[in-house]
Symmetry: C2
Subunit: 412 residues, 2 copies
């Protein structure tokens, strides 16, 4: 008998029929003896409908009132799902973020959870009830309705799981787990049974858009075992948890990539303390997020400085950098928005040398030129021309034994 927190996203509760199927699933598990809390999103399309209504009403952004209107989306779902559970003879009770006392700060539209009072939920669970909670929403200390921003329902589920010290937090979505890489690029990609929080964080931030980074970080911080599962297919999904010393670990868990990057280089910058912040300052002040940063010290007292930004921000960043270049007396600014980032991710890197070299050699064998390299403890990222994305991912997938029939090569 376990205490499980489950989260169903918008597509999983997108129609009355789908909500019925979720109720079937929850009911079966509850009757098998598990204690279940379910966090749900708005029915798919509903949040967009509400935002469109608000946009039609006002061209300005009224953050507090926007939260009042969009939070109704999840409120509708909790009532419908609870009705469906009751119809199936499964005792249940719905709660809005305010009713569950999901206390957040007052940053409307992107609020952060401060505290959850779990007593009410525990009492309901003890009494044999399934607890149905509106995801994505909370309440600040003054009683104002807040929302947690994109991916907020995942965070709701993880936060509840942490507060209740649940055995597992299950995120039901439209994929059946985390894969070694995107199966659309490499059909032999393999579903992972298990991955660490850190690896998932790197995978997520690098473009595997299954879980919001924030909810994974949250789960890692409170050590809440997180499982990604399909709402529509049977299977045990992928468990995201702490490193498990007991079993053989893979060297590399997966290959992530990001198509949305653009690269900017400023060359021949007179090297002096503070030059990095002089270059990046104007860019970050323009609210442009910077991803990779690489700087080489040159021989002649000058340096080349390269960084990547989101492709949408390329033009603006380029212009800002041109101005900075003139101010600093740099040589020139070169940019390219037809580049991609490919990353190897794996906690095995920590204890195994030679992985970087294998990566570089593999790409070289395919005549793929590496334009930029950046490493962290559990990942190596390279920037290459966009046209090499598929070839790069596939050759690395093969080289590190990630194919569904190639496990043997990839053990440490």
């Amino acid at each position: 008998m376990a205490l499980i927190v489950q989260k169903y996203g918008g597509t999983s509760v997108g129609t009355i029929e789908k909500i019925g199927k979720v109720a079937d699933k929850v009911c079966a598990q509850a009757k098998a003896g598990d204690k279940i809390v379910v966090a749900v999103s708005a029915m798919s399309g509903e949040t967009n409908r509400l935002v469109a209504l608000a946009d039609e009403m006002s061209s300005k952004t009224h953050h507090r009132e926007m939260d009042v209107i969009v939070s109704t989306g999840e409120q509708v779902t909790i009532a419908l799902l609870t009705m469906a559970l009751l119809d199936r003879g499964c005792d249940a009770r719905s709660y809005t973020g305010s009713q569950i006392k999901m206390l957040t700060d007052s940053a409307h539209g992107k609020a952060r959870i401060r505290e959850i009072q779990g007593e009410g939920m525990l009492a309901d669970l003890e009494a044999g009830k399934v607890v149905v909670v509106a995801g994505f929403q909370g309440v600040d200390e003054h009683g104002n309705i807040t929302t947690l921003g994109r991916g907020g329902s995942d965070t709701t589920a993880v936060a509840i799981a942490a507060a209740l010290k649940a055995d597992e937090c299950q995120i039901y979505t439209d994929v059946d787990g985390v894969y070694t890489t995107d199966p659309r690029i490499e059909p032999r990609a393999r579903k992972l049974d298990r991955i660490t929080f850190e690896e998932m964080l790197e995978m997520a931030s690098l473009g595997s858009k299954i879980l919001q980074i924030r909810s994974v970080a949250f789960a890692g911080k409170f050590n809440v075992p997180l499982r990604v599962l399909s709402s529509f297919k049977e299977g045990s999904g992928t468990l995201i948890a702490l490193e498990d010393d007991g079993v053989e670990q893979a060297l590399i868990s997966g290959i992530a990539f990001n198509r949305d990057e653009a690269q900017l280089t400023i060359t021949g910058v007179p090297d002096q303390p503070g030059v990095a912040s002089k270059i990046l300052g104007p860019v970050t002040e323009a609210n442009i997020e910077i991803d990779m940063i690489v700087q080489n010290i040159g021989a002649d007292g000058c340096t080349d400085f390269t960084f990547t930004v989101h492709r949408n921000d390329f033009a603006v960043a380029h212009e800002l950098l041109q101005k900075t270049s003139e101010e600093l007396g740099a040589k020139q600014v070169v940019g390219d928005d037809e580049i991609v980032k490919i990353s190897l991710v794996g906690v095995g890197m920590r204890s195994h040398a030679g992985i970087a070299n294998t990566m570089f050699q593999t790409l070289a064998n395919e005549s793929i030129n590496i334009r930029m390299i950046s490493t962290s403890e559990i990942k190596i990222s390279v920037v290459v021309d966009e046209k090499y994305l598929e070839l790069g991912v596939r050759s690395l997938h093969e080289a590190f034994g990630l194919h569904s029939d190639g496990e043997a090569k990839n053990l440490r």
Copy 2:
């Protein structure tokens, strides 16, 4: 500078454009210096959409969850209206029933208001804010969302007006006031400037469906001056208030009627104590509401007993009465569902004799047979054949000087 509570119904906030017009109106009044609380309904059609979703989900009635889902309708409106007010430079803040602490009992779907904590609203009003409140909804002592049932938004407005001791509670609707009778029956019907709570209660319960009885009773109990106005037309509407001794009062305020009635008579009932409850008991136990009741004592130790019910309940009531008739050894049961009730309403009746006689004489002049008579302190109701409805209403409207050009006749 007055403190005004306004209520806008579903048709008044039925579209983004209409909400904009409400905002224009509220804003102008707020800028003129009035302190304003606005209670709103769901956009017209929205409550039906939500109920349909719930009905599609479940064929059973889950009262608590139904309130969770339908209360989102008003929540959307308060956010939209508040956005519109802010856009117009009018400081405003929205509140759900739960946020305003509209404490009710736990009778989901038909909850009754117990208490309103007005401090927060008063603080907002003092700070120059318009307070926008979701009508129709409240919260019980356990934090469950409740709804007040049909016409609940009127009740919300009146309850807030009572709690804040507002100068006036204005109900904006799609008619421009209370008329002496239905203008569709008598085109010369006149809009009343003023009417008493008691008269309005009789008018409302008799079929003038402008205001819910409950909100009028509530306003009368707490002496909240209530004004019915049009959202779409300029004008001062009709004020519903206590009797005003200072001005000349009309004898008769209006003529109400009800087409939805059916009449049932049980004749030759052996007259003995408790016979009325024996006759009506089975009918009320079947949840059938009884309207008029008339009993005559007969000469031969027998009595005739007549009552009216809603036309929809006629068949069931007839059947029940047949059974009772056999048990009591009565003579027979006769029924008619092609009858209507016409009522004269006016506080002037209290002090003026002869009104009943004028009524009966007027109907007799038109050869309209009266089938049943019932009187109270401020009304006289008669039941006549349905075919005489229009003729009866028009001849009484003329006889009591209610025509727009006939005021002189109708003063006491």
